[in-house]
């Protein structure tokens, strides 16, 4: 056998470098805007800092304060309400999708119009619903008044404000889940449905045993975007109530904003601690989702 020439070994090195050249710009952004800031935020959460002046190391003081802060528990409770109620978007979206999965003339336009709320900015959704809820001008108090005899200003009511905001959030979220399910329904093999029909599967049984298993990828995505969306909720709270009345509709993300980012918010350390708690909560969900995706990627 001839001796293996040594020179061409270099080629392999270069081939190994190629993917990194393609990845470099995206990874740069990712490091600078995501990875490093997470580390910085965590370290800020151990400081007392107004954003400009001296930084003072106070250890876990911010977290201890947080545990004694009523506003923190209110935010946590509201986040939980968001999470639970937001999940309704999934069955509601499925229901809408099943309702619209027909081929009547003009169906495409109907589907687009039903999808409309998702395309509109949360800011506009917030304004629309604020108007919808306002006493005198809005429709909602009239509707409530019609049934209960008493016109209630939802957003001005401490115990109702969060529910009012969640309802506004559900509007685009249902539309989103609907479109996920519509495309999922579209990709089901029609022969499968026909085979099931011949096996005499009908209505709910068909849905449960044949259709829903086929829609699992859509359900998974719907679950991911809904859970993440619920925990990230910020826009609607900021626009509809600014956390009020009397802080009753705060969520963690808005609480953090108030503490560190708003006009009067200068407690960077305290805000960072809130953000760390929110991040930790979301990390539980993110990890669950990623593990499932990895399993799927492995088996694919």
């Amino acid at each position: 056998m001839k001796p293996v020439p040594a020179a061409p070994r270099r080629r392999r090195k270069r081939l190994d470098l190629t993917p990194w050249l393609f990845l470099a710009p995206a990874i740069m952004f990712f490091l600078v805007y995501v990875v490093v800031p997470i580390g910085q935020s965590i370290s800020i959460s151990f400081l007392e800092w107004d954003g400009l002046g001296e930084k003072k190391w106070i250890g876990l003081q911010n977290y201890q304060d947080l545990l004694k802060d009523e506003a923190f528990y209110v935010s946590l409770k509201n986040n939980l309400i968001w999470l639970v109620l937001y999940l309704l978007a999934i069955p509601a979206g499925l229901f809408l999708a099943l309702f619209l999965n027909q081929t009547v003339t003009g169906m495409r336009l109907y589907k687009s119009l039903f999808f409309f709320p998702f395309v509109i900015s949360n800011v506009v959704v917030g304004l629309i619903f604020s108007w919808f809820y306002t006493p005198d001008f809005g429709l909602m108090p009239k509707i409530i008044g019609f049934f209960t005899g008493e016109e209630i200003a939802v957003l001005a009511n401490e115990s109702l404000a969060t529910y009012g905001i969640v309802a506004a959030g559900l509007w685009p979220q249902i539309a989103y889940c609907m479109i996920l399910y519509l495309t999922g329904l579209n990709s089901i093999n029609p022969e499968l449905v026909e085979a099931a029909r011949l096996d005499d599967a009908k209505g709910f049984k068909m849905l449960w045993y044949v259709i829903l298993p086929q829609l699992r990828p859509a359900t998974f995505i719907a679950l991911v975007v809904t859970v993440i969306g619920a925990l990230r909720s910020f826009d609607l709270v900021a626009i509809m109530t600014v956390g009020g009345p009397w802080g009753s509709s705060r969520v963690l993300s808005y609480f953090m904003f108030e503490q560190s980012l708003s006009e009067y918010g200068t407690s960077m350390g305290y805000g960072a601690a809130i953000a760390v708690v929110l991040f930790a909560i979301m990390l539980v969900f993110i990890t669950m989702f990623i593990v499932r995706m990895i399993i799927q990627e492995r088996t694919a």
């Binding site: 190629t18 993917p19 990194w20 393609f22 990845l23 710009p25 995206a26 952004f29 990712f30 600078v32 805007y33 800031p37 997470i38 800020i44 099943l98 999965n101 027909q102 081929t103 109907y110 409309f116 709320p117 900015s121 506009v124 304004l127 619903f129 108007w131 306002t134 005198d136 001008f137 429709l139 509007w171 479109i179 495309t183 999922g184 329904l185 449905v193 259709i211 859509a218 991911v224 993440i228 990230r232 826009d235 626009i239 963690l252 993300s253 904003f257 560190s260 980012l261 805000g271 809130i274 953000a275 929110l278 991040f279 979301m282 993110i286 989702f289 990623i290 995706m293 990895i294 990627e297």
Partner: protein
């Protein structure tokens, strides 16, 4: 097809469906229709308590007044200045990164991919304090570029996820065949991959346009002056100023919502295809 196609049901069901469909749509869009209606009501109608009835006349001048009484014209322009480069750059970067993650098997491939997926889902608040300080240090705070860079960073993650899955779904033999022919990796990227992912580029353009245009959190914390502030942040400020001038707030809302809605209708097929790719790939 599931449920049973309506054409194959009893005439009575079919009739009920066709009647109920538009009613359902109106109920679904009721808040939006209300705002649209209010936006063309003359102020006098609202003052005299005509909240829900038909407008006494179509007051298009509300829209004109919005422009005259506010900086919304600037805000619109700012939004465009932020959105367009964000869309272009994040798609460009994700094309490169998605190509690398989809076609090379190197050891940390999946780790990087899932880091990017995870990065996509973190709450913005954990990033906000350092990210806001970032442009301050390099004199980009309260500039369009500073805001656009932030958007690019966060949208690139989503786009990379999307592109990687799309490129991975292309037949691998196309790329390998070019490799056997001695085509360089860069040229494979330019001449084979980019032309083949055009549908993905179209889909992403609409999605990212919508996401960036509609974004609120970064818009508020990263911009202050009139010639930087995007329309989402601007309009919320205006609604505070205008208090009960609902006809103006409504008109401004409709204006803000218009570009993504228009985009959606023009490129509907791509928009849905983009979301669908997420749904069937997940």
């Amino acid at each position: 097809m599931f449920p049973t196609p309506i054409e194959r049901t009893q005439p009575r069901t079919r009739f009920a469906y066709k009647v109920f469909l538009p009613i359902a749509l109106i109920l679904w869009l009721l808040p939006l229709l209300g705002v649209a209606l209010t936006s063309v009501k003359p102020a006098a109608d609202l003052d005299s308590g005509n909240y829900f009835g038909a407008p006494s006349r179509i007051a298009i001048e509300n829209y004109w007044l919005v422009f005259k009484n506010s900086n919304i014209g600037y805000y619109f322009w700012n939004s465009i200045k932020v959105t367009v480069p964000s869309v272009l750059v994040s798609i460009g970067l994700s094309l490169l990164a998605g190509f690398a993650l989809a076609t090379y098997s190197f050891r940390s491939n999946l780790i990087i991919f899932f880091m990017i997926v995870a990065g996509n889902y973190v709450p913005y608040q954990i990033l906000a304090i350092p990210v806001r300080d970032l442009p301050i240090n390099i004199n980009l705070y309260d500039t369009t570029l500073g805001l656009a860079l932030t958007h690019i960073a966060f949208q690139t993650g989503f786009c990379t996820l999307f592109m990687r899955n799309f490129i991975k779904a292309l037949p691998n033999a196309l790329i390998e065949s070019a490799r056997v022919e001695g085509v360089s990796e860069w040229r494979i990227f330019c001449y084979i991959v980019v032309p083949l992912v055009r549908p993905a580029i179209a889909a992403l353009s609409v999605l990212i346009f919508t996401f960036v245009w509609n974004e609120y959190f970064w818009a508020t914390i990263m911009s202050q002056s009139v010639d930087v502030r995007p329309v989402t942040a601007g309009i919320n400020e205006l609604s505070g100023e205008w208090k009960a001038r609902w006809e103006l707030i409504s008109a401004a809302s409709i204006l803000t919502a218009a570009p993504p809605v228009l985009m959606f209708f023009l490129m509907q097929k791509h928009f849905i295809a983009g979301l669908a790719l997420g749904a069937t790939k997940g």
